[in-house]
C-alpha cells in the first residue's frame, strides 16, 4: 500500500513475479504502476505491506546493485559519451560491487558487446544529443543490462518513440532478455506491447490499484499470434470490467 498526499495509490497489489520471467504490468493511467515500480526499485518505501526482491527488501537488493531501471525518459547524461553513460552505474557504489561479488553474482556483459547488440557500436564515443530518440532509449536499455541485474524494471520505456522504432526496440529488448534471462517487470499502457513481450501480464484496477487479473501468454507450440490475441482480449476484458 502506498499513500501519497493523503491519497492511497496502491491497495492490495498482491502478485508474484517468477525468477527469470518477463512480467508486464498494465492498468489505467494514474493507477499507481510507476509507484509500484519505484517501490520495487527501492526508491520509495511502502507505508504498509511487504515487498520482497528475491527474499530481500528492495533497498537491500538495490544496495548490492541487483536492480536495473529503465525510466520513461532515457535519462542519459549529456556530458558523457554513450559508452560512459552505459558504464556509469558500474562505476558508482563500490561497496555494492563488493557485495555483489561476495554474493556470487554472474559476470557482467561486455559494454562494447552490449552496444553492438543494440546496434550502437559505431556511436559509442558520441554524445547523447547526437542520437535519435530511439537510439537514446537503446542506450538506456544497454545501461540497465550492463549491470547484469537480477531484476530489471522498465517504466513505459518506449512510449516516446514512433511505432516502427517501438517495434524494433521491443524485438531488441526481447532478444536481450532471452540472452541474459534476467527477471523483467515492464510497466506499459500498451496492451499489445505487454502481450508481445511478457509471459505474464498483471492487470491493475483504477487507483487505488488492486490486482484484478493475471493473464499468462503462451509462447510455445504453434500459433503464437493466436495466443497473443487471446491474452490481449483477456487483459482488455479485465480492464473493461473494472472501468
Amino acid at each position: 500500500m502506498r499513500v501519497r498526499g493523503g491519497r492511497r495509490t496502491l491497495d492490495g497489489v498482491d502478485a508474484d513475479v517468477p525468477r527469470g520471467g518477463f512480467t508486464a504490468v498494465v492498468g489505467p493511467s494514474g493507477c499507481g504502476k510507476s509507484t509500484l515500480l519505484r517501490i520495487l526499485a527501492g526508491l520509495e518505501d511502502p507505508d504498509a505491506g511487504r515487498v520482497s526482491v528475491f527474499g530481500q527488501s528492495p533497498a537491500r537488493a538495490a544496495a548490492r546493485k541487483a536492480v536495473g531501471v529503465v525510466p520513461q525518459d532515457p535519462a542519459l547524461l549529456p556530458w558523457l559519451s554513450v559508452e560512459d553513460n552505459v558504464t556509469l552505474p558500474l562505476r558508482v557504489n563500490r561497496a555494492g560491487e563488493r557485495a555483489r561479488a561476495a554474493a556470487g553474482a554472474p559476470q557482467r556483459p561486455d559494454p562494447g558487446e552490449l552496444l553492438a547488440t543494440v546496434g550502437l557500436a559505431d556511436v559509442a564515443r558520441a554524445r547523447p544529443h547526437e542520437l535519435s530518440g530511439g537510439m537514446r532509449q537503446r542506450v538506456a536499455v544497454a545501461r540497465a543490462f550492463a549491470l547484469a541485474p537480477e531484476l530489471l524494471l522498465l517504466d513505459e520505456p518506449f512510449s516516446a518513440v514512433d511505432e516502427l522504432t517501438r517495434e524494433q526496440l521491443q524485438v531488441e529488448l526481447g532478444a536481450l532478455w532471452r540472452r541474459w534471462r534476467t527477471t523483467v517487470v515492464l510497466v506499459t499502457h500498451s496492451l499489445r506491447e505487454a502481450v508481445a513481450l511478457a509471459d505474464t501480464v498483471v492487470v491493475l484496477s483504477p487507483g487505488p490499484a488492486r490486482v484484478i487479473g493475471v493473464v499468462g501468454v503462451a509462447r510455445v507450440d504453434g500459433d503464437e499470434s493466436r495466443h497473443r490475441h487471446e491474452a490481449e482480449a483477456q487483459v482488455r476484458a479485465h480492464l473493461l470490467a473494472s472501468a
Binding site: 519505484r38 526499485a41 527501492g42 526508491l43 538495490a62 544496495a63 546493485k65 536492480v67 536495473g68 531501471v69 525510466p71 520513461q72 525518459d73 532515457p74 535519462a75 542519459l76 547524461l77 549529456p78 556530458w79 558523457l80 556509469l88 552505474p89 562505476r91 558508482v92 557504489n93 555494492g96 554524445r127 544529443h129 545501461r143 549491470l147 524494471l153
Partner: protein, 253 residues
C-alpha cells in the same frame, strides 16, 4: 551571416553615437569632452592608464576568485542540506537585492585603504549571483537520472560529482557571464570611495573629476569598457569550453 551584415550595423550605430557625442561636445565641452581629446588623454599617458587598468583588473579578478569560490562552495552546502538551505537562501536573497556598494565606505573604515576593501566589495557583489545560480543548477538534475543513480545506491558525493555538478554548469556559466563584468563595478566603486595608495581606474576617475578633467575621466571609462569586454569575452570562452557537450540547440548556449 556575412562579415558585412555582421559588422556593418554595430559600426553604423557606433558612428551615429560618435557623431551625436561630437555635436554635444562642440556645444558644451563640460557636458561631454570631444572624442579627440579623450584619445589624446589616452595617447598622452599610455603607461599611466595601462598601470591603472592593471591595478583595477587585479582587484576585480582577486575579488572575482574569492566571490565565485565562496558562492560555489556555499551553493554545494546549501544543495546538500535542506536545513542550511532554509537558513541561508533568505539571507542570500536579501544580500542580492541590497546594493552592496553602499557598504563600501564602511569596509574602508574596517579594512583600510589597501586592496582588501576593494576585493571584499567585489567578492560580495559577485558571490550571490553565483550562489543563487549554482544552487538552482545543483537542484536541476533530472529526476529520472537521479532515479537511475539512486537505484544502484550511488552515494551522495557520487550523485554530486556525476550528476548534480555537471547539471549545474549551464547555470553557473550563465551567472559567470553576469559577474565577470560586474566585478569591475565592485573594484571601481571601492576605488572611488577609498582612492588608496594603488592608483586604479576608479582613483583616476575620482581625481580627474575633482579637477574637471573630463577627457581623462572618459579615457579611464574607455579603459574600463575594454576591460569589461575582455572579462565578458573570457566568460563566454569559458562557457563554450565548459559546455562543449551541450547540444547547439540547448537553451544554455
Amino acid at each position: 551571416m556575412s562579415a558585412v551584415t555582421r559588422w556593418l550595423p554595430p559600426l553604423v550605430a557606433a558612428l551615429v553615437v560618435a557623431g551625436l557625442w561630437q555635436l554635444v561636445a562642440a556645444r558644451d565641452p563640460y557636458l561631454l569632452p570631444a572624442l579627440p581629446a579623450v584619445a589624446a588623454a589616452l595617447v598622452g599617458d599610455p603607461g599611466g592608464y595601462a598601470l591603472a587598468t592593471a591595478t583595477t583588473a587585479a582587484e576585480a579578478l582577486a575579488g572575482l576568485v574569492v566571490g565565485v569560490a565562496s558562492g560555489l562552495l556555499v551553493a554545494v552546502v546549501v544543495s546538500e542540506s535542506a536545513l542550511v538551505r532554509r537558513a541561508v537562501l533568505p539571507l542570500a536573497v536579501v544580500a542580492t537585492v541590497t546594493p552592496v556598494v553602499a557598504i563600501a565606505p564602511a569596509l574602508v573604515v574596517a579594512l583600510g585603504f589597501g586592496p582588501a576593501p576593494k576585493i571584499v566589495v567585489t567578492a560580495l557583489i559577485t558571490a550571490f549571483p553565483v550562489l543563487v545560480g549554482a544552487a538552482a543548477g545543483l537542484r536541476s538534475a533530472p529526476p529520472d537520472a537521479l532515479a537511475v543513480l539512486h537505484s544502484v545506491r550511488a552515494s551522495r558525493w557520487e550523485v554530486l560529482w556525476w550528476l548534480r555538478v555537471p547539471a549545474s554548469l549551464p547555470y553557473v556559466t550563465a551567472a559567470l557571464r553576469v559577474v565577470f563584468p560586474l566585478s569591475l563595478v565592485g573594484a571601481v566603486v571601492a576605488e572611488l570611495v577609498a582612492a588608496g595608495s594603488a592608483r586604479g581606474l576608479g582613483t583616476v576617475i575620482s581625481i580627474a573629476s575633482s579637477n574637471a578633467a573630463l577627457a581623462q575621466v572618459y579615457a579611464a571609462v574607455v579603459c574600463l569598457a575594454v576591460l569589461g569586454l575582455g572579462l565578458l569575452g573570457s566568460a563566454v570562452l569559458l562557457e563554450r569550453r565548459v559546455l562543449a557537450w551541450a547540444s547547439p540547440s540547448s537553451p544554455s548556449r
